[in-house]
Amino acid sequence: MDNLTDLPNSDGFFGDYGGKFVPETLMHALKELDETYAKLKNNPKFIEEIDQDLVQFVGRPSPLYFAKRLTDHYSGPQIWLKREDLNHTGAHKINNTVGQILLAKAMGKKRIIAETGAGQHGVATATVAARLGLECHIYMGAADVKRQSLNVYRIKLLGAQVHAVDSGTATLKDALNEAMRDWVTNIEDTYYIIGSVTGPHPYPMIVRDFNAIVGRELRKQSKEQFKQYPHAIVACVGGGSNAMGIFYPFLEESNVALIGVEAAGSGLMSGKHAAPLNDGEPGILHGAKSYLMQDKNGQVVDTHSISAGLDYPGVGPEHSNLKDSGRAKYIAVDDEEVLSSFHLVTKLEGIMPALETAHAFAALEHIAKNYKSNQHLVINVSGRGDKDINTVATMDGISLD
């Protein structure tokens, strides 16, 4: 078997998953992107430019923080938090956009497009586009525009245009469809910044690589702060970019358990969820083969999650390969567990996680008991929860008007 770290292969496959299943018009642009990235990724000047942005603009490295009261609460492992919520714009998403905007610049593209679910990727994209003075269009499902209104306004303040997408289920997958249609139409001058480790090759690889800074920092910080690598790393998985970013530098460390947490929505048994790795079948959506929530006819089914960022029927192809190979484990937690975890972490640690991130915390209820007090477990705090206050209030039956 190939070394997991060496994937994808040159056709963009992670084992059986990935590839480039797109309309012909896009094939040339993908090749161009692949070649540009191959040329630049080891270029010292390019690396230096990204590193400088990550330090001075994003605020990296993000701290590794010991969550004492959470650790006491569970009486399991020592729980550490990788604080991506402290990044500029409030989530891990900026790691990727800072990198991709430099690819866009290198390719001479003048117009930036992106899809967004929770709005974090939309904000992160509008932010880097504003900084370079590039025209920016963000596609967002109409349902998400409503539940993430704060981020919609942020995106507008940053000078980008928000396009509410009414088609299909009016959520993240439909925003992706519409962004792809824009890209097909404006292929010559437009760069599409995909926000997760999804989509056709080379996106899953590029987005992973730009997020892998998180895992690389953790390698260093864990050695410094607790003298060894973690016994387990836990991250939420929608498309899977924060998880892939923190998992990737540990793929070859077989003693480090990698645990992804999907959105079980109203419960896996209810069918109303967004957990393709737990309850989906391999299929092709948005340019890649991967686990997918679909019916027996190959139609993509509606998803449900309290968290707009995880409300997606697919998942990055690399995660599908990690699942099949057994290198990572994927579990799912439901909306109720997530909400109570959100409150618990907020009260115990003074950290208000995004609802996406709260899925990773909710996993502790299931897995903390498997670890001893001399073991170390790291949770990737992928984003902060300010954007979710309205949703949480509604779920709790409180009116903020």
Partner: protein, 266 residues
Amino acid sequence: MEYLLTRLDDRILSLNKVKKKALVAYLVAGDPSLDSTLELMHGFVNAGVDILEVGVPFTDPIAEGPIIQAAHDRALKNNTSLSDIFKLVEKFREKDTKTPIILMGYMNTFLANSQALQKAHTSGTDAVLIVDLPGEIDLEELGIKNKNLASISLIAPTTSEERISQICNKSSGFIYYVTLRGVTGSSHLDISEAEENINYIKLQTLLPVFAGFGIKTPDDAFNLSKISDGIVIGSSLVEMIHQQSSKKEFKKIYNYLHEISEAINR
């Protein structure tokens, strides 16, 4: 067995013999209903359509503009499945054994049913056009090839010369040239670029080259027919079908197709 594959080739050859351009017409199966689709297919042929392209509805048709997307949604609301479409083709074949049928759709609906292409073939389908399957990938690699079905590939204005020759080598039936950068039904038709590209493609292959995407008026059709071997018309038909869906008065559509058919052989 070989008969079915040559139905498409036969049609192309016989058009060629009388120096006629091919008219390919697209509609979405199950929009507004499978019964209407069957009626429309026969009606299209009577109005001068040479090849039928039947859209297989998918929840996430990324190459389609708003008109065809909405038709996919309507067909899915009617629960139109691939098996229903095979039955539709079988019924069509009871009255028409000559007109070639191409199923146009997206990879996932075909992948979900490992017998899909086998069943497509036995139902009387002649070719598939899978929009999100790159032309150089063989269906065999995905485990669903059927040697009796032609696989139609798209070539776009952005396709490199290297890929054009790869795609031509793997294609059968005809080459479908996408006349614009955009989704179906857009309006950025650039005739001179299309002419240059089609001429280049024809140097690489003996297969006929049909042009599609963005053809709306008889004049568009006329202009493109001068530089290609045939044209594909889709969104404008789908829109007309939708407008007539409550009354099911399709005569206007047949008149329109007749006009297009005359225009391309003017």
